[in-house]
C-alpha cells in the first residue's frame, strides 16, 4: 500500500453539481422566479417537486450558497429522510434552529434577514410530523423560510402545500442531457466508440441526469482508459442482451412451457433483473419485430404492468415473469 493517504475522488454527480443557480439547466420557470427572489427581501416558502435527478436538491443548495456565502452553515439547516424526523425531532431541532436570531449583516457583509430549513425527501415524512411542521411554519414566518422537496406532491398535506410557492421540476430534455454528458466526457478525457453510446445512456436514464452521469462514470471506472462501447454502457445499466429476449420470445412462440421455464431459470441464474426483462419486453412489444394485433398487444401490456407492480412489492421474479410468458403463449394460441 502506498505511504500517502489515498486520494478520494469525488463522484461526478457531486463534481458537476451546479455551483450556482445559473448552472441549473432546463428548470427556467423555477430559476427565473428564484432569481427575482434573490434580488428582493421578499422570499416565500418553497416547495420543489419532480422526479429523481432533475435538480431539486442542487437548486436549493446553489441558491442558499449564493445568498449566504460563508454563512451557509449557520443559516441553512438540512434535514433529509435519513435523519430521524419524527414529531419530537421536528419540534426540537427545527424549533431551536428557527428561533436563533439572525442579523442582517455579519463581518460587514449583508445577508438576507432569515434562515432556511431544507426538508429534503419530505414525502417520506409521516402525516403527523407534517402537521407539526405546519404549525412551526406558521409560527416562525418572520425569521425562517422553509424549502420542502419531494418526488410526489400528493404525499404532502394540503396546509403545507398551500403555504408554499410550488415549483415543478421536469424530467430533463434529451438534448440537454446529451450536452451535459458531452461536457463531462470532454473534461474527463473519455473516448467513446461513437455517439450511439451517449444516446443509449440517455435512453436508459429517461430524463434523470444523475442516473446518466452515474452510469457514465461507472462505465468509465470499469473500463479504465479503454474506449467506451455501447456494450459497456449496457452492462452497467443492467441491460439484458438482445439474444436473451429473442430466446424468451421464441420459447413463447413455440407454445412450450418447458422451454420458457428453462429460459427463465437461466435468466435468474445469470442475475438479470425481472423488472428489466419487463422493460425490454415492453420495448419489444412496441417495436417493429412484434407481429401481434392491437388487441393482443394491449392484453400483453396489461400482463407486463401487473407483473411490474407485483415485483416492486417483492413478489418472486420467476413466477411473475412466467405469468407474462403464459399470457403470451395463450394469446398466440388463440389466433
Amino acid at each position: 500500500m502506498s505511504q500517502e493517504v489515498k486520494r478520494v475522488m469525488v463522484p461526478w454527480v457531486e463534481k458537476y453539481r451546479p455551483k450556482n443557480i445559473d448552472e441549473v439547466v432546463y428548470q427556467e420557470e423555477a430559476v427565473n422566479v428564484l432569481k427575482q427572489c434573490l434580488k428582493g427581501d421578499d422570499f416565500p416558502n418553497l416547495l420543489f417537486y419532480g422526479p429523481p435527478g432533475t435538480g431539486k436538491t442542487s437548486t436549493i443548495l446553489a441558491l442558499a450558497r449564493e445568498m449566504f456565502q460563508d454563512q451557509f452553515s449557520s443559516r441553512v439547516l438540512e434535514l433529509n429522510a435519513s435523519d430521524e424526523r419524527g414529531i419530537a425531532v421536528i419540534r426540537e431541532k427545527v424549533k431551536r434552529f428557527a428561533q436563533q436570531t439572525v442579523s442582517r449583516s455579519e463581518n460587514g457583509n449583508k445577508y438576507p434577514p432569515f434562515k432556511i430549513i431544507v426538508l429534503d425527501e419530505a414525502d417520506s415524512m409521516t402525516q403527523s410530523a407534517q402537521a407539526c411542521l405546519r404549525r412551526i411554519m406558521e409560527k416562525e414566518t418572520k425569521s425562517t423560510r422553509f424549502c420542502i422537496i419531494c418526488n410526489y406532491i400528493s404525499r404532502i398535506i394540503d396546509p403545507i402545500v398551500s403555504r408554499c410557492s410550488k415549483f415543478r421540476f421536469k424530467p430533463l430534455q434529451q438534448d440537454l442531457v446529451m450536452e451535459k454528458l458531452a461536457t463531462i466526457c470532454n473534461s474527463e478525457n473519455i473516448s467513446l466508440e461513437n455517439d450511439v453510446v451517449l444516446t443509449e445512456l440517455i435512453k436508459v436514464s429517461g430524463g434523470d441526469l444523475r442516473k446518466a452521469i452515474t452510469f457514465l462514470q461507472t462505465a468509465y471506472r470499469l473500463k479504465g482508459d479503454e474506449i467506451l462501447t455501447i456494450n459497456d454502457v449496457r452492462e452497467v445499466t443492467g441491460y439484458i442482451p438482445e439474444n436473451w429476449i429473442d430466446m424468451f420470445v421464441e420459447a413463447c412462440q413455440k407454445q412450450s412451457y418447458e422451454n420458457v421455464e428453462d429460459v427463465l431459470n437461466s435468466m435468474v441464474a445469470e442475475g438479470f433483473s425481472g423488472a428489466q426483462l419487463l422493460n425490454q419486453l415492453h420495448d419489444w412489444v412496441l417495436g417493429e419485430n412484434c407481429l401481434l394485433t392491437d388487441e393482443q398487444i394491449s392484453e400483453l401490456i396489461e400482463a407486463l404492468a401487473l407483473a411490474d407492480y407485483r415485483l416492486l412489492e417483492g413478489a418472486d421474479e420467476f413466477l411473475q415473469t412466467f405469468n407474462v410468458a403464459s399470457v403470451f403463449i395463450q394469446l398466440l394460441g388463440k389466433k
Partner: protein
C-alpha cells in the same frame, strides 16, 4: 470443521474462479481510488458474498478478515429496544436490517450515522464500508432514508448493498450506485470446481456423477458442494436428492388426485412441515409449479401459472402465508375438477354424435 463450501471460498479477487473479467475491472477501479457505492445483485448461491469479501480485502488488506460479532441495540421512538447482531472489522460493518422487520429504517439510520460520524480514515483509506445484506428486502422507508446520506457522506462512507434481485430497489437508490450483476457459475464451471474439491478431499467420484451433481444443482455452487459433501459423508454411490423436492412432488400429486377439502387440509400440514424445515416459499412454489406443469393438461397450464403468480404476490403483501397458499391450492383444485368434468361431458357429446 468447516463445510466444503466454506473451506474452499476464494479470498481475493485474483482467486475468483468465474466472472474473472469483472474481477479485473473491480481491481482496476479500487486501484484508481474511485470507488462508488455498490449494488451487488444476483441469484442466491451465485457468489455475491464471496465477491464482496474479496472487494473488501482488495481495499483494506487481510485485516478486514478479522471480524467480531457486535450487538447493536437500537431504541425506537416509542422507547422499545431492538436487538440486532452485526459483523464488524476495524474497517467495515455488515448488517442485515430486514432481520428486525418493518423497523429496518432505524437500523439503517443508526448504523449510517455512527459510521458517518466516527469518520473514515483507517490505515490510509479515507472511508469505511457498510455492507447491507438482503438489501432486496429493505422497506421503501429504509431505502428513502439512504438517499441523501449516500450523497452527503460520500467522502467517509461507502455502501455495499447485496441483493438477490434489483427489482425491489427504488430508482433513486439505483441511480446512486454502481450496479454489479453477479452471474451464477455455468454448469461446466461447477463441475470443474467440484472436481478440484473432490481431489483435495481425496474423494473418489466419477466424472459422470460430478456432472450429474452440477446439473442437479441448477447453477448454485453452494448447493452443489453440499450435495457432494453429503454423498461423501453417507458414502453414497448416487446423488441424494434433497428430500423437500420429493416431498413437494408428492404434494403436487395430491392436488390432482380426486381433489377434496380433506386434501386441502392435508396439504396445509405439508406446507407447515416445509416451512419448519426453512424451505423458502418461492422455492416451494417453483418446485410445485414444475411438478404440476408435467402432470396437468396443457389447457390448464395458463390457469395454473396465473393462480400461482396471483397468490404468491398476495402472500408477500399479506401476513399469514399459509392462508394464501391454501387459497391457491383450493382454487387450483377447483379449476382442475371443473376442467375434468367439462371434458367428460365433451366426451359424452362425442358419443351421442356417433
Amino acid at each position: 470443521m468447516a463445510l466444503w463450501c466454506d473451506r474452499y471460498r476464494p479470498t481475493s479477487l485474483n482467486k475468483l474462479d468465474y466472472n474473472k473479467e469483472q474481477a479485473d475491472y473491480l481491481k482496476r477501479m479500487i486501484k484508481s481510488n474511485d470507488f462508488p457505492h455498490l449494488l451487488v445483485y444476483g441469484a442466491p448461491g451465485s457468489g455475491k458474498r464471496t465477491r464482496v469479501q474479496c472487494i473488501l480485502r482488495e481495499i483494506y488488506g487481510p485485516g478486514v478478515d478479522k471480524t467480531r460479532i457486535e450487538h447493536l441495540t437500537i431504541e425506537t421512538p416509542s422507547n422499545k429496544k431492538l436487538e440486532l447482531n452485526s459483523i464488524a472489522s476495524n474497517y467495515h460493518i455488515e448488517v442485515n436490517p430486514s432481520d428486525i422487520g418493518i423497523q429496518d429504517r432505524l437500523v439503517v439510520q443508526d448504523v449510517m450515522k455512527n459510521i458517518a460520524q466516527s469518520g473514515g480514515l483507517v490505515d490510509k483509506v479515507p472511508f469505511k464500508v457498510i455492507v447491507i445484506s438482503e438489501a432486496h428486502k429493505l422497506s421503501k422507508d429504509a431505502q428513502h432514508s439512504l438517499r441523501r446520506t449516500m450523497e452527503k457522506y460520500i467522502s467517509t462512507l461507502r455502501l455495499i448493498m447485496v441483493a438477490d434481485t434489483s427489482s425491489t430497489i427504488l430508482p433513486p437508490i439505483k441511480s446512486r450506485c454502481l450496479l454489479l450483476r453477479v452471474a451464477a457459475p455455468s454448469t461446466d464451471k461447477i463441475s470443474q470446481i467440484l472436481e478440484f474439491v473432490a481431489k483435495k478431499e481425496n474423494f473418489d467420484i466419477s466424472p459422470s456423477l460430478i456432472q450429474k451433481i452440477a446439473k442437479e444443482s441448477e447453477r448454485n455452487l453452494r448447493r452443489a458442494l453440499l450435495m457432494m459433501e453429503t454423498m461423501y459423508i453417507n458414502q453414497s454411490k448416487d446423488i441424494i436428492k434433497p428430500s423437500y423436492v420429493l416431498y413437494i412432488q408428492r404434494m403436487a400429486k395430491k392436488m390432482v388426485e380426486n381433489p377434496s377439502l380433506e386434501k386441502v387440509k392435508d396439504i396445509r400440514e405439508d406446507f407447515y412441515e416445509l416451512e419448519q424445515h426453512l424451505i423458502p416459499v418461492d422455492l416451494i412454489f417453483k418446485v410445485l409449479i414444475h411438478s404440476l406443469l408435467q402432470i396437468c393438461d396443457k389447457h390448464l397450464r395458463g390457469k395454473l401459472i396465473q393462480l400461482a403468480s396471483h397468490y404468491e404476490h398476495q402472500m408477500r403483501v399479506g401476513s399469514k402465508r399459509v392462508l394464501h397458499f391454501e387459497a391457491f391450492v383450493a382454487h387450483f383444485m377447483a379449476a382442475y375438477q371443473k376442467f375434468t368434468e367439462d371434458n367428460m361431458i365433451d366426451d359424452d357429446d362425442d358419443l351421442l354424435a356417433m
